[in-house]
């Protein structure tokens, strides 16, 4: 594919730059220091706890490395990262536990 027209590419880049910034700016920029209603704040307290797991869950169940086939090594690694992070409240320990589990099980499988 070498026939993408440079103008098209620049239009895409510019539109996405403006659009992405607008999405990021919309609340922090326009609402700013104004107080938001209680019901909204109550929902926003759970944004991180909801979105981050939702983003990761499909990648764990259908990992790209196995072309989307559920796989024990990836599931165990995910479980260990979550569990160790939860128990120790330390992100680095969680990452190390997850990575060690993944590499260990992938090594055993080969």
């Amino acid at each position: 594919m070498k026939n993408l027209d440079p103008t098209t590419i620049w239009i895409v880049i510019a539109s996405l730059a403006v659009g992405s910034f607008a999405l990021r700016f919309v609340f922090i920029g326009f609402v700013g220091g104004r107080t938001m209603p209680d019901w909204l704040l109550r929902h926003l307290r759970y944004t991180a706890a909801a979105i981050i797991p939702a983003m990761v869950a499909p990648l764990v169940v259908w990992p790209s490395a196995t072309d989307g086939k559920p796989d024990l090594a990836h599931m165990s690694a995910a479980f260990m990262a979550l569990e160790v992070g939860y128990i120790t409240k330390n992100v680095i320990f969680g990452i190390v536990a997850g990575a060690a589990t993944l590499y260990g099980l992938l090594y055993l499988a080969n």
Partner: protein, 238 residues
Amino acid sequence: MAITTTKSYYWRGFLDGSPFLLMALPFGMLFGVLATEAGLSVVQTMSFSAAVFAGAAQFTALHLLNDNAPTIVAILSALAVNLRVAMYSASLTPYLGAAPLWQRVFAAYFTIDQSYACSMMQFEKEPRMSVSERLRYFFGVVSPLTPAWLVATYLGAVVGTRIPESWGLDFALPITFLAMIGPMLRTPAHVVAALVAIVVALLTTTVPFNLGLLIAGCAGMMAGARCELILDRRRAAA
């Protein structure tokens, strides 16, 4: 962490953001490689990474352009994939909204999964942080990641370096974020929010444009908020 008391919030953010280099580097390189393979010049590739600064949206747009999708479809699909950053923006507003406008402009530009997730964890852990301390932390998180993302894009575009798949770094993204979820689950309501979001996310993977993620996120937030109300009521009655 007890030894961090004297360390500035900027450096705390820097340290907390650093593990994400494990994903910023391979994904940045991959974007550089795929973009140049699709026919983008090095200048275009770098402008893309610097101006849009949103991995998943960039890959989506590139993929669709490569498939000869209409330009408007590529743009709208990539923005749809990026809709979650509007939720991040809303969620950060109670913490950073009081900052001066020019600082909020920068905070908006640097709102990515990593800066958002690290910041929310830190801001909830230390609710007494001042707005300027929070901003310093926030910018600390993106400080290692932004240059890494750009350098990696450049290496991918110019040298064509890719990290071999056998290194398994594609799974660095799930593992790093999973390790962060644990500390985020501070109350039963947070656990309920996460569980509902996971179930809905797994059920909605076929929804186009990654919109299942938004549906799952909203469902999780509603479940968490409802659970908080129920628990508060019970506590008040007891």
